[in-house]
């Protein structure tokens, strides 16, 4: 009898972004990943600018600074600052929850079921609130002050 191989059905990287109609915390996970990689990418350019262009003297530096004061780059820098604020505050929340601090105790399940992350939703929202405040502060400085 011919043995039929089952068809592979893993979601792959798309599974990081969307696998179904899940609630908020799953999307915090992917945003944490995206902001982390985004900041790393920005770091490559930032380190080039502050090392290669820095050591070549004043003229090259001022040239670079005027090139980077283009509004498009300013907006990009604001995005990086927002990404940093999100990654930092979500990171603090993850440090606390992954070490079991802000997760509550195991409770025998009684219908309708809820889980630790949903029960601690208020704490998660507090961290998001701090992120929003930081975004407003950065907005003032980067966009309004820095044009």
């Amino acid at each position: 009898m011919k043995v039929l191989e089952p068809r592979p059905n893993k979601l792959g990287i798309t599974g990081w972004f969307y696998a179904g109609n899940y609630k908020l915390e799953r999307y915090f996970y992917i945003l944490h990943r995206v902001t982390g990689l985004g900041i790393l990418l920005f770091l490559v350019f930032h380190l080039t600018a502050t090392t290669f262009f820095r050591i070549q003297g004043e003229a090259v530096w001022n040239n670079t600074m005027s090139f980077l004061s283009n509004p498009l780059f300013k907006a990009g820098e604001y995005l990086v600052a927002v990404a940093f604020a999100y990654h930092m505050l979500n990171g603090f929340r993850l440090i606390l929850q992954e070490l079991g601090f802000m997760m509550g105790k195991p409770v025998p399940p009684i219908y309708p079921f809820s889980d630790a992350l949903r029960k601690k939703r208020r704490w998660t929202m507090a961290f998001i609130g701090i992120i929003v405040i930081l975004c407003v502060i950065f907005f003032y400085d980067f966009i309004i002050g820095g044009w």
Binding site: T50, G91, I95
Partner: protein, 121 residues
């Protein structure tokens, strides 16, 4: 197996250290307009003269080198975690880990050489 726990723990510790050091970096160098509210006026912190002044101070060189070290560890370890979720063979994993470690050491040596060498210029 303890090794894996320590790698993860250092990811957390460097995360907190980055929050502190990068916070200092952001506030002093990029959020100078906000500091005006607190009565501290630093002028244009990205201008050449301001940078020359900072590059002569040992504390600033120390902050930059420390920030670079923790940032490279945290960022490259994060990158390694993301890439390792997609690989299965032990050989590929070891190759990726050593490439990332090599890149990290190279970048650290180069980018920390700059503030230290400029200390006495």
């Amino acid at each position: 197996m303890k090794r894996y726990t320590y790698v993860w723990l250092w990811q957390l510790i460097t995360g907190v250290l980055i929050a502190v050091l990068l916070g200092i970096h952001m506030v002093i160098q990029h959020l100078d307009k906000i500091l005006v509210f607190f009565g501290v006026n630093l002028g244009d912190t990205t201008s050449w003269s301001s940078m020359i002044e900072r590059s002569r101070q040992v504390t600033w060189a120390g902050v930059y080198v420390a920030l670079l070290a923790v940032l490279l560890y945290h960022g490259l370890n994060g990158l390694r975690n993301v890439v390792l979720e997609l690989t299965t063979s032990q050989r590929t994993e070891r190759a990726i880990t050593w490439t990332i470690v090599a890149v990290g050491i190279l970048v650290f040596v180069w980018a920390s050489y700059v503030p230290i060498a400029l200390l006495n210029k």
